[in-house]
């Protein structure tokens, strides 16, 4: 499977639409297998969240025909943004449901977001991240990769062909930006 994925990425780079689809299929299958392994080890219900989150991300990404991923880093950046959007949508839908709204809930597992999380705050973070993405896409991407995909600084540095120090500085800048932006929203 590992070698297949490498060749699929190469094929996708050449514009073969079927390769992109096959890439998602391969990733989905492998992630699903891992989720089952986690369950077999007695993992908590959050593992189910992995499966459903990935499923939603897969559907979202596969539906966008013509999207190209010339390298792993861009694929991961895109996947991170999709997952962020799904998590935020999930939180917003839960909030709407609490208010008695008529919105249809998407199928993400409710344990994806800790029950103690304040949904309003999470929405504010998402909006602040959107603003950061507009002002500084590279810095925002570090947040997506680190926060929403869980990559380490070393992994992000390797993906982006940057030094670990540079990635850490971008993370620092993101923290500074988000801290200011969130406080500006609270003060507004």
């Amino acid at each position: 499977l590992e070698s297949t994925l490498g060749s699929l990425i190469e094929a996708a780079e050449k514009g073969e639409a079927s390769a992109t689809e096959a890439l998602f299929t391969a990733l989905y299958s492998e992630l699903h297998r891992l989720a089952r392994q986690q369950l077999a080890r007695g993992g908590r219900g959050i593992t189910l969240g992995v499966t459903t989150l990935l499923h939603e991300a897969y559907l979202d990404m596969a539906a966008r025909s013509g999207t190209e991923f010339p390298d792993r880093a861009r694929f991961m950046g895109y996947a991170a943004r999709v997952m962020r959007a799904l998590i935020i949508d999930h939180v917003r839908n839960r909030q709407a449901q609490k208010r008695g709204g008529q919105f249809e809930l998407i199928s993400l597992a409710s344990d994806l977001v800790d029950s103690s999380a304040d949904e309003r705050e999470l929405t504010q973070i998402s909006e602040a991240l959107d603003k950061l993405a507009e002002a500084d896409p590279e810095v925002a991407e570090v947040v997506d990769l680190k926060f929403f995909c869980g990559f380490s600084f070393v992994e992000i540095a390797a993906m982006r062909n940057l030094s670990e120090r540079t990635v850490k500085r971008k993370w620092q800048k993101a923290r500074i930006y988000l801290h200011r932006e969130l406080n500006a929203e609270i003060a507004a």
């Binding site: 992630l31 923290r175 988000l178």
Partner: protein
């Protein structure tokens, strides 16, 4: 306090990069020097730098500490796509 516009952030960003590479004492001296040339810029930078290392947000960190989901996703994709 209002939000920073993208243009404001982009103007501050290279100075922030520079400041973040400096240690505390070096940074203070650098800011002091900048203040004589451009007091507004120095003041804006100081305000931003004061946020470095502060607790950012309860939700952000509660999610990071409960990041089993993204970690599993990232580990899997890292193995499958990258190597």
């Amino acid at each position: 306090m209002s939000s920073l516009t993208p243009e404001q952030w982009q103007a501050l960003s290279p100075y922030l990069d520079q400041a973040l590479t400096l240690s505390g004492e070096e940074r203070s001296r650098w800011l002091q020097s900048l203040r004589t040339e451009n007091p507004v810029l120095a003041s804006q930078l100081q305000e931003l730098l004061q946020r470095d290392g502060l607790h950012i947000h309860s939700v952000l960190w509660s999610l990071v500490s409960n990041s089993d989901t993204p970690t599993l996703v990232s580990r899997t994709l890292s193995v499958q796509i990258g190597k």
